[in-house]
Symmetry: C2
């Protein structure tokens, strides 16, 4: 028996959209589902006590961040990332690949593909080598075996390999973990994208092997492979085909650093993946993208924008986004979104939340993030209902007709 399983309740006749249930040791996730981002084992500003009222079924935490602080061993002692953050529902961790390359600041620079000699033996060990860190600068250095990178916190040198990422994810103990992948810059040329994709495939084999080995922890953990290939359709298709032949429990579609990389060819990619396995679109989840993703067969989405926008007063509504700090809301005593049933919209006005932001009160970002998370989870709930009720297109057209980008 697989550690996680997926059952499809209904398929939409006109697209790849489907409604299903993802079963995990810590409970079911009704799909399509919006996964709240809990990078450092916290959905920023929101307590796990509020997840249920906000419609949060599951969260995705970050291997890179939790490895650096508090360290995966602390989380393991707490009983895993869910228990650590006081959440009894299903959890995911990504592999850390994206953060290694983005926060390690390889992004936009030519990545060195050769590991400095004196770092080559330090796989998985957190060391600070001043000479190396200095020469190494801010780059993430990729070699066949893995990636050396500097901490965004203190510049110390670290190394992830597929095996090390999986080992950390076993300690973090989420229900769904991800293979370690290389995230390329959208500026990378075809040649480099292909090289990185091929390496990601070799790392996928190693991640899967490391996971299926006799780790005590991994019995309940499902593992997803990650489709890469940047903005090149043929590479994406090749990547999907290659990973489809590996025995993953599900698949992540890596957005790389640009969502334009993948959205246009997502349905083509998903057609190559096994239909009976769940698919997660990594890091993409604006309302308009979610409709595209669902129609292309995506089951789960994660995206930092509801909380990131929320922290600066950017509010999602059924009529599009608004900036609540703008002067026009100073005496607007209507809720953030008049069509929203969330606890924030029931209790507080735009004028109050405007005041909180203007006064730099921390409750402002919290309330805005709560509303935004509810908005996204509830939007995806409504999409799910529309698939079950056979009116997905109608709901999509109605929603997007009103929603101004």
């Amino acid at each position: 028996m697989r550690p996680i399983s997926f059952s499809i309740e209904k398929e939409h006749p006109g697209s790849l959209a489907r409604a299903g249930v993802l079963h995990t040791e810590h409970g079911d996730i009704k799909t399509p589902a919006f996964v709240a981002v809990g990078t450092k084992a916290t959905v920023k500003g929101i307590s796990s006590a509020q997840f249920s009222e906000l419609g949060v079924q599951t969260i995705i935490a970050n291997t890179y961040h939790l490895y650096l602080s508090p360290g995966e061993q602390t989380v393991e002692k707490a009983g895993g990332v869910g228990k650590f953050m006081g959440f009894s529902g299903p959890t995911m961790t990504d592999s850390g690949g994206f953060q290694v390359f983005s926060l390690g600041e390889g992004f936009g620079k030519k990545l060195s593909k050769f590991l400095p000699e004196n770092a080559s033996q330090e796989e998985g060990v957190s060391v600070y080598n001043e000479e190396l860190a200095t020469s190494h600068g801010k780059l993430a250095i990729v070699d066949e075996d893995g990636v050396s990178f500097t901490s965004h916190i203190n510049g110390s040198l670290h190394r992830f390999t597929p095996e090390r990422s999986i080992e950390i994810q076993h300690a973090l103990g989420a229900d769904i973990i991800f293979a370690f992948d290389e995230c390329t810059s959208p500026a990378a040329d075809y040649e480099y994208q292909k090289e990185a994709m091929d390496r990601t495939h070799r790392w996928a084999v190693r991640s899967l092997a490391a996971h299926r080995q006799n780790f005590e922890k991994n019995k309940q953990q499902g593992i997803y492979g990650i489709v890469q290939g940047g903005r090149f359709a043929d590479l994406r298709i090749e990547s999907a085909k290659t990973l489809a032949n590996m025995d993953f429990d599900g698949y992540g579609i890596g957005g790389s650093f640009s969502k334009a990389d993948i959205l246009g060819i997502l349905d083509t990619v998903d057609r190559e993946l096994p239909k009976d396995k769940p698919r997660h679109l990594l890091g993409i989840g604006e309302p308009e993208d979610i409709f595209i993703g669902v129609a292309a067969g995506i089951d789960t989405f994660d995206c930092v924008l509801p909380t990131r926008n929320g922290r600066s007063g950017g509010i999602y509504t059924n009529n599009g986004k608004l900036l609540v700090e703008n002067a026009e809301y100073k005496e607007d005593f209507s809720p953030l979104d008049t069509e929203c049933d969330c606890s924030v919209c029931k209790q507080f006005s735009r004028a109050y939340i405007h005041h909180l932001f203007r006064s730099k009160e921390m409750l402002g970002p919290t309330l805005a993030s709560m509303h935004n998370i509810y908005f996204l989870t509830h939007l995806v709930e409504r999409i799910r209902a529309s698939i079950l009720d056979d009116n997905f297109e109608k709901f999509r057209d109605e929603f997007l007709g009103k929603y101004k980008r």
Copy 2:
């Protein structure tokens, strides 16, 4: 009939302590009670949706801050400070006296007692006069009629008089408002303290008159006079006697800028006040102070420390305070306070909250503040129960025996 009324349920035989109920238009406050500080119409980091679970019966907002932003007229349009912040229970506003003198930065400096000529006509009008603001510097300038002060936000010049403070408090619409008083530096000499106290008494007469005039708003609003006199027992007693003869609905005891000013002579002062009216100790509310205050006949307390300490990880427990960011809590999976029943202690560990603080996650200050507010409101609830059960001293000795400062 008075806008607010107070009934005593039980008097403690060995001290001035009493348990009672303060009746307001927006509900009852069971006393003794801890009043959460909601300076800018928000208890920092905590939503009013959480007040009930945290034991918050009432909050005290700040006239100075709400006058500056968003302006009392916006709050009035919202339906008053309670409605503005989504809270249906009783509310209080202080008069702004303390903030005018502390944030206007008169504190610790020799206050000028003469108003610059060109500001004298601008009572109650928010103006920016660059020349005056510059010459005026950062001082709060007191004259017989009121105080001119600069905004801590942008240096603009403002003026409060007793009448203006009451007018603003009418717009803010709290159930309990305070007379406008002069808060002196603890360094002020006897002569100045007496002068300021006498002025505070004249301002009390004017505040009361302004309140009792035919304002539509004030029918449900009770007004408290404020006892001043700094650290001088004879002045405090004189102040209490003077105010006792005025027809206030209750009394505030001004802590000035130092709690040593008042705690030692609090019972002497309270003996001069009418027994059947409620008494509020302004800005003092550490656990050990609360026991002193209750024994001296105080009914309500407010104090910023539960939230201010909470924001920097200072945690109240039944065994004293701890700093949850300290290394010793990194893998301490017990709750913040093992004897606490609050929702934070039921769901989260010290290790998790330690991690949130180390990671500078905003949820850390929120959870710590929630716990601290619950701790204080619950402590005062327990004190109330001990008065009703005739074991106030026993409870006090047990609590303080364990509670390390």
